[in-house]
């Protein structure tokens, strides 16, 4: 589903963020991107949702070269990708429900339909009581759940998460991971950038390690998800 061919990314004047990355990720994979700070994890994610463009090389998503997209094409691409960030990136003036519904409205769902979808999703994620709350009145874990609900409200083909547990304590981080696994069951491909080794060990089925912009390791393993049931 995702193919990277000899991808390079250089930031001016001469900072090499990614160095000749070639990768292939199949539909439904659950991938951890790991490595020390500055290894290129965030840059790689940014290339996948076209926040950045590679200096060299090609990125195909379902066979489509995403570097060739115009602004309208980028917007269309992002409607098929769910994004989760360490700092949640919720709109503070909207309620939890409205934040989630916004993403559904963007793809053309009616206002009523979006709100219904958002409400069910928030209830599923244990935020039934909080859907009228503004993000800043919610705890970190709750905000992250709202952000996850927003990311999956349109059943995306791909979910990208950049350090999604970075601001959460261990227990909530664990819970968040279990949510991602549930989402994967719907057939969504999930790529998580993280340096939380504990979580990677427990949940990673494929672990791609980056170092200085190179792929240092690409491990596939079968894991048992104890926490799942």
């Amino acid at each position: 589903m995702i193919q990277l061919f000899h991808v390079f990314k250089t930031y001016p004047p001469n900072s090499q963020a990614l160095n000749d990355i070639s990768l292939e990720i199949d539909k439904g994979e659950f991938v951890f991107l790991t490595g020390p700070s500055g290894a290129g994890k965030t840059t790689l994610l940014k290339l996948l949702f076209r926040e950045e463009e590679p200096t060299n090389g090609q990125i195909l998503l379902n066979g489509q070269n995403i570097n060739r997209l115009n602004r309208r094409g980028v917007a269309r691409l992002r409607r098929q990708i769910g994004l989760v960030f360490q700092e949640f990136k919720l709109l503070p003036r909207l309620t939890a429900l409205e934040n989630v519904a916004l993403a559904a409205e963007v793809v053309g769902t009616s206002k009523n339909g979006s709100h219904t979808k958002a409400y069910h999703l928030l209830r599923e994620l244990g935020l039934k009581e909080k859907y009228t709350a503004k993000p800043l009145t919610l705890s970190g874990g709750e905000q992250q759940r709202v952000a996850i609900a927003r990311a999956v409200v349109n059943d995306p083909m791909l979910l990208l998460a950049d350090e999604p547990t970075g601001n959460l304590d261990a227990e909530i981080a664990d819970e968040t991971m279990r949510m991602f696994l549930k989402i994967r069951e719907r057939g969504t491909t999930i790529i998580i950038a993280s340096h939380n080794l504990e979580l990677i060990k427990r949940y990673g089925t494929r672990i791609i390690s980056l170092r200085h912009g190179f792929v240092a390791d690409d491990l596939q393993k079968v894991v048992r998800h104890e926490g799942m049931h």
Partner: protein, 275 residues
């Protein structure tokens, strides 16, 4: 808020200018109405000749109206003008003053060369002895009208440009304050129209709010001036001045609306490009 205030200030200046221009033009129009051409008639004409000539003069395209002043009427007018000194006229024959036509000129012919042309044709008419008109006045009036027109375009144009740039930069500030919001909208795949719409609508509302504020401000200033400066010397009394009419108020609201929308759109285009 800042945008609305800026818009209100600039539209206030623009509105004040429009108010002045409109009233000045009204004043000029009133002066223009006083311009008349006097044609003095040959003494040899009988009543039928005068009527024929009157009918003939009325057919000129420049003529709005003609008043016939008979010799007796001219005598009476002269007497009345002299008032208490009218005794000096005793002993003079009553037909010493010639009969005349007082000719009012149509508005679109009240222009120096056009009046001159009309006067020359009038002079060639049989039965007309002498034609008089206030040439200097006519020339000066045309000059003032021309000056006002030029000032309107130059001043108005500069003002619009300034307003546009002020609105554009205040919108830019508002956008910077809400860049997170824009970023999030872009991340969830919102179309450009969807991202821009709230800002443009906000710009329009601010534009209309600014225009409304400026109109209210102008009205109060106008009332205050009317009370403080009742007379204007040469220009006459302030009570002759009128406030902006419905068309001008609608124009100001439309300008506010348009500038708000255009400023936002222009700012957004540049902002999103440099994202």
């Amino acid at each position: 808020m800042l945008t609305a205030a800026t818009m209100a200030t600039t539209l206030f200046v623009f509105g004040a200018f429009m108010l002045l221009q409109e009233n000045l033009q009204n004043l000029l129009k009133a002066w223009g109405e006083q311009i008349q051409v006097n044609a003095y008639l040959d003494k040899s004409l009988d009543a039928a000749d005068v009527q024929r000539l009157l009918a003939r003069v009325r057919t000129f395209p420049e003529v709005e109206g003609v008043r016939h002043i008979s010799q007796e009427q001219a005598w009476r007018d002269f007497q009345a003008a002299l008032g208490a000194q009218s005794g000096v006229l005793e002993g003079l024959p009553q037909d010493v003053l010639p009969a005349s036509f007082e000719i009012k000129i149509r508005e679109n012919f009240r222009d120096g060369p056009m009046i001159e042309d009309f006067v020359n044709r009038l002079k060639r008419e049989k039965g007309i002895a002498l034609v008089e008109y206030p040439q200097e006045w006519v020339d000066r009036l045309s000059l003032v009208v021309l000056a006002v027109q030029w000032v309107k375009w130059i001043f108005g144009g500069a003002l619009f440009l300034a307003t546009f740039f002020i609105v554009e930069s205040t919108v830019k500030l508002a956008l910077l304050a809400r860049r997170d919001e824009i970023e999030i909208m872009q991340l969830v795949g919102a179309s450009e129209a969807m991202i821009q719409a709230p800002f443009v609508v906000e710009g329009m509302i601010q534009g209309i709010a600014g225009a409304t504020l400026s109109i209210i401000g102008l009205w109060f200033t106008f009332q205050w001036l009317r009370n403080e400066i009742p007379t204007f010397g040469l220009l006459g009394s302030f009570s002759q001045f009128h406030f902006l009419n419905a068309r001008h108020i609608a124009l100001m609201l439309a300008i506010g609306w348009l500038l708000g929308a255009a400023g936002s759109l222009f700012s957004l285009r540049r902002f999103i490009k440099t994202w």
